[in-house]
Amino acid sequence: MWSEAAKELAEFREAVLTALDPAGYPVSVRQMAPRYDPGTGEFTVVWPSGLSVAEGPATVLCHSHDEKLWKIKQMQIKGRLQRRADQWVFISTDFRRLPGSQLGVFWRMARDMRRAGRRYLERRGLEMPTVNWKALQALRNGTSAKDE
């Protein structure tokens, strides 16, 4: 069941594991090349001493971008953090595969964002506001001028 998650996770060198601390705040650390078991959906977590964490809901995020903050890739696995013997273990509970092509991801994102944006305005009884495109262009052009 977790073979797809294992395959996508293997495309990243590092993963960000987030769980909750005893006060209920999120707490994140990086895991270097986690050894994810495609059969069980589990991996042993290397958790640093001196940083409090509690058993409970957790998530794994992998993402990457290039030097220009583009070619963005990401994947996420939901799960739980559990204390087992003297180790912390991440146990997968949900993984949703993104469309295979970048174009597919792009189109789905555009569709979902249009739906969510419409809903956000409708639920608050708001009209579509007028975006100040000139101000945005000016900011962009100012940045370009500085680069030259």
Binding site: V16, T18, A19, L20, D21, A23, G24, Y25, P26, V27, S28, V29, R30, Q31, V46, P48, S49, G50, L51, G56, P57, A58, T59, L61, H63, S64, H65, D66, E67, K68, L69, W70, I72, Q74, Q76, K78, A110, D112, M113, R114, A116, G117, R118, Y120, R124, L126, M128, P129, T130, V131, N132, W133, A135, L136, L139, R140, G142, T143, K146, D147
Partner: protein
């Protein structure tokens, strides 16, 4: 690192479970962080309105130019009111954040091009999230197997 890293991993809570996104935050002069999302992706803001506990992990040095990278974890409390921003000139902090992102992500200008506006009509209608740091941890050499050092979060007010 906080100033130069291009993204951080921002976590909010949804029904008690963490949800993490890569975001580009701006550290403000008063030591708070500004994160902007848009009404097409409102989940981060909706989450902090229900539970303000959040974290930001600065751990990816790609593109920052920092040759000896470390990592910083900030835990804090976030607020996000229902106000939406369509005129960026009305929010100087948001304008400063946008200027930084335009500079660092040239291809992101697509979102203000004509095709970008048609495909993503809500992208530039923004919701602001402000994070007040409560605790901070530092891994000087980005070695997460080591115990972190605690940061005095008042130092964040002297970064900008």
């Amino acid at each position: 690192m906080i100033r130069e890293y291009r993204t951080c991993e921002f976590t909010t809570l949804s029904n008690g479970s963490p949800q993490t996104w890569p975001v580009s935050p701006l550290l403000l002069k008063d030591g708070r962080f500004l994160i902007a999302t848009n009404i097409g992706l409102p989940q981060k803001a909706l989450n902090v309105r229900r539970n303000p506990k959040v974290s930001l992990l600065f751990s990816d040095p790609t593109g920052s130019g920092i040759t000896e990278p470390g990592a910083i974890l900030i835990q804090g409390d976030a607020i996000s009111d229902d106000h939406i921003v369509a005129d960026i000139s009305s929010e100087p902090d948001l304008a400063a954040l946008a200027e930084t992102v335009f500079a660092r992500q040239p291809a992101g200008s697509f979102m203000i091009s004509r095709p970008g506006r048609r495909l993503f009509p809500y992208y530039c209608i923004r919701i602001l999230i402000y994070v007040t740091p409560r605790r901070g941890y530092l891994w000087p050499a980005r070695d997460f197997t080591r115990p972190p050092e605690q940061i005095d979060i008042k130092e964040l007010q002297r970064v900008v």
